[in-house]
């Protein structure tokens, strides 16, 4: 057990830090819309051209072939440099579609898509959830009917983040209509410019439109776009997990730690209704300090997870705990800042630049719901980590 970085790790960190210092965009990311997506693409393009894309991806697929730890170092340096956050419109392509194609894609699929994903040329969105299949994803009903060399898709997907900006979608449909639950599903690459697709944005409680409902009216998708086997889509969807080594949250960790430090500064400047500084209230001081300890634990959990996966070769069972930890810490901190700030906390009209604290507070529900609700994460933990009996 040790906390020491190797010489290569230190050199990698130094190179990353120097490069970021010289290249982090001077302008801040536009808060929304096409401009935000263009900003993300341009930043990814720059990372790609300078060899900072796909750090832990295998070399044969255009990655750097570096270690999970170096991936963590990269996220830490991104956060330290206040570089654009890696959870942006490129996220699904880089963190989900790419790894899935690497695990299960055909040579042709890999050759076409992976370079476009790494370079930011292609943005992806996810087509898993439906109006009646959220937490219970396996109950999805969007249908895919094989017709010659095509699969014809009809149905509805929803909560699709950035569908309006995406070029491709990872689309999970039921190709065997007699099948139940996890069986008879197929994972397809859907070109978002296909005929028959209609995208309707959903305005959220954050007053933005980052999620959408997507309607498919007999959309033709070539059979060549099936990833994995026809009817084996559930296993393809899970294959991504084998790539995930629980490192994706480390950027949030460092950001959360810095946010706690900023909140402490804020509490030293803000007076509460009794005229005393917020920091001089024991309850606020204690909550801030406890959150600092929790953000430290998130880092420790990430590093311990990498070590355990390295030793056992078995990934994944603790990523649910990681998500619970990060999202609950984020929410507790957002609430605390809300308790500290005065009326300006409530002067929110959707502008995340002028009112970042309020925006982050509202975002905490996106965090605890998207990508598997906290309740589902607890179920996964009970099943896979604790081995409790299941009824589902």
């Amino acid at each position: 057990m040790d906390l020491r970085y190797s010489e290569e790790d230190d050199e990698f960190r130094a190179r990353a830090r120097a490069w970021l210092q010289a290249h982090v965009p001077q302008s801040s990311r536009p808060p929304r819309g096409r401009a935000a997506a263009d900003f993300d693409r341009a930043w990814q393009r720059k990372l790609y051209e300078h060899g900072w894309a796909g750090i832990a991806w295998p070399k044969e697929y255009g990655g750097r072939g570096l270690t999970a730890l170096q991936q963590v170092i990269w996220y830490e340096e991104l956060a330290r440099a206040h570089a654009p956050h890696h959870i942006n419109t490129t996220y699904v392509a880089l963190m989900h579609a790419g790894p899935t194609l690497i695990a299960r894609g055909t040579d042709a699929q890999k050759a076409y898509h992976l370079p476009r994903i790494l370079s930011g040329e292609a943005l992806w969105c996810q087509g898993f959830s439906e109006p009646n299949a959220g937490s219970d994803l396996a109950s999805l009903t969007t249908r895919g009917v094989v017709d010659g060399t095509d699969v014809i898709v009809t149905g509805v997907k929803t909560w699709t983040t950035d569908a309006q900006h995406a070029d491709f979608q990872e689309l999970l449909v039921r190709t065997d209509t007699r099948s139940h639950r996890h069986h008879g599903l197929t994972w397809l690459i859907c070109d978002m410019r296909s005929r028959g697709i209609e995208i309707r944005p959903i305005t959220t409680m954050l007053l933005d439109e980052h999620v959408n409902t997507v309607f498919y009216n007999e959309v033709r998708i070539p059979r060549a776009n099936v990833v994995g086997d026809m009817g084996d889509g559930w296993s393809t969807a899970l294959a991504t997990l084998s790539f995930e080594r629980g490192t994706g949250f480390i950027g949030d960790q460092l950001e959360l730690y810095e946010r706690v430090q900023r909140a402490i500064q804020l509490a030293k400047q803000v007076r509460l209704e009794d005229g005393r500084f917020a920091i001089d209230h024991d309850d606020i001081a204690e909550r801030l300090a406890a959150l600092k300890a929790e953000t430290m634990a998130i880092r420790a959990m990430t590093l311990a997870n990498i070590a355990e996966v390295d030793r056992t070769g078995v990934p994944g069972p603790k990523s649910s705990l990681m998500k619970l930890m990060v999202t609950s810490t984020h929410k507790a901190l957002s609430e605390l800042i809300g308790d500290t700030l005065g009326w300006e906390f409530l002067e929110f009209d959707g502008n995340r630049v002028s009112h970042p604290w309020t925006y982050d507070f509202l975002w905490s529900w996106v965090y605890t719901i998207a990508g598997g609700t906290s309740e589902i994460q607890r179920e996964i933990t009970a099943d896979r980590l604790l081995g409790l009996p299941r009824t589902r």
């Binding site: 906390l3 204690e286 880092r299």
Partner: protein, 325 residues
């Protein structure tokens, strides 16, 4: 960088687990013959195994291992609500600079308990007959001769820990060390024991939830139980991983090791106390029975929570602490 037990470290965990479940099983704390004392023959077994000299340098007669092995060993001790004497005895061997005394401590011939502040005085925690007591502060450790002073045994909520107050007389200082290492190892040891308590509580309820049935179903199928267990797993995981951070930071003499230690102790306190609480609740009626282990974990965690930094102190320090970057 490898933030998990590995190689020889795992062997020590295994050896410790086997030894402790034989020498200090939780069953010792139930029934009429129950006693918090570390019995002489058991103390001798600990000495034979070399546990009292785990981190003491080899030149001083110890095993010369690091803070990491120290944390791993005390986590196992915590699972069994092990007597606090074990930690006091080990730390006393570090404080002692006199070879003969150190040898006697390592051999378990001289018994040590822990002295903690109690208003203007001290209170002694551990076996009632110990003639020595170790008082540890952040910047020093003092080994005291308490054989000549007047002490009074008092009731103890925690069946694993005897308590005595000092009624009169002045304890003589036998040995003094004036660096922070003794505190750090003490804090790490207690945090590790709390992690062990938190993990034991989780293990007990998970085992029970797989067999106990209500309304014709195993209770482990109910989300009211499952989700509470998942939250226990998260508390234990966060505390355990931060414990690894603190142990490695201390081993590597990092300048921010004390910040990692304070965070580890805080998270371990919370994990132990809350997990012990939830474990009782989820067991239902049997959870409040004396014959069950559940209450032992809660009572021991409440005692450990007051040692080497209680919540108030730890959080006050953490608020202004800075990490090395």
């Amino acid at each position: 960088m490898f933030l998990a037990p590995d190689g020889c470290e795992l062997e020590i965990v295994d050896t410790a687990a086997k030894f402790l479940s034989r020498s200090i099983p939780l069953d010792r704390l139930h029934g009429t013959g129950a006693s918090p004392a570390l019995k002489p023959d058991v103390r001798a077994d600990f000495a034979t195994m070399g546990w009292f000299g785990l981190v003491l340098p080899e030149a001083d007669g110890g095993n010369g291992l690091s803070a990491v092995e120290h944390a791993l060993f005390y986590r196992e001790v915590g699972r069994h609500c092990g007597p606090i004497d074990i930690l006091a005895q080990s730390l006393a061997a570090i404080v002692s600079d006199e070879p003969q005394l150190r040898r006697a401590l390592l051999a378990g011939e001289q018994c040590v308990v822990l002295a903690v502040p109690d208003g203007q005085s001290l209170r002694l925690l551990g076996s009632h007959d110990a003639p020595l007591a170790l008082h540890v502060e952040r910047d020093r450790g003092r080994l005291l001769d308490v054989s000549a002073i007047e002490t009074a045994a008092c009731p103890s909520l925690d069946p694993a820990t005897g308590m005595r107050t000092i009624a009169g007389g002045t304890a003589r200082t036998v040995a003094l060390s004036s660096d922070g290492d003794v505190w750090s190892l003490g804090q790490l040891g207690v945090a590790a024991m709390q992690v062990g308590v938190a993990e034991s509580a989780l293990a007990l309820i998970v085992e029970y939830a797989k067999v106990r049935e209500t309304f014709g179903r195993k209770i482990g199928t109910y989300q009211a139980v499952r989700h509470a267990c998942a939250d226990m797993a998260l508390r234990a995981e966060a505390a355990r991983c931060q414990l690894w951070s603190a142990a490695a930071a201390l081993k590597e003499h990092r300048s921010d090791a004390h910040v990692h230690l304070d965070a580890a102790k805080h998270l371990a306190n919370r994990a132990a106390v809350v997990n012990a609480d939830v474990n009782i609740q989820l067991h239902g009626g049997i959870g409040i029975a004396e014959e069950h282990h559940a209450h032992l974990l809660l009572k021991h965690s409440l005692l450990l929570a007051r040692l080497f930094g209680s919540k108030r102190t730890l959080l006050a320090r953490l608020l202004h602490a800075e990490l090395e970057v």
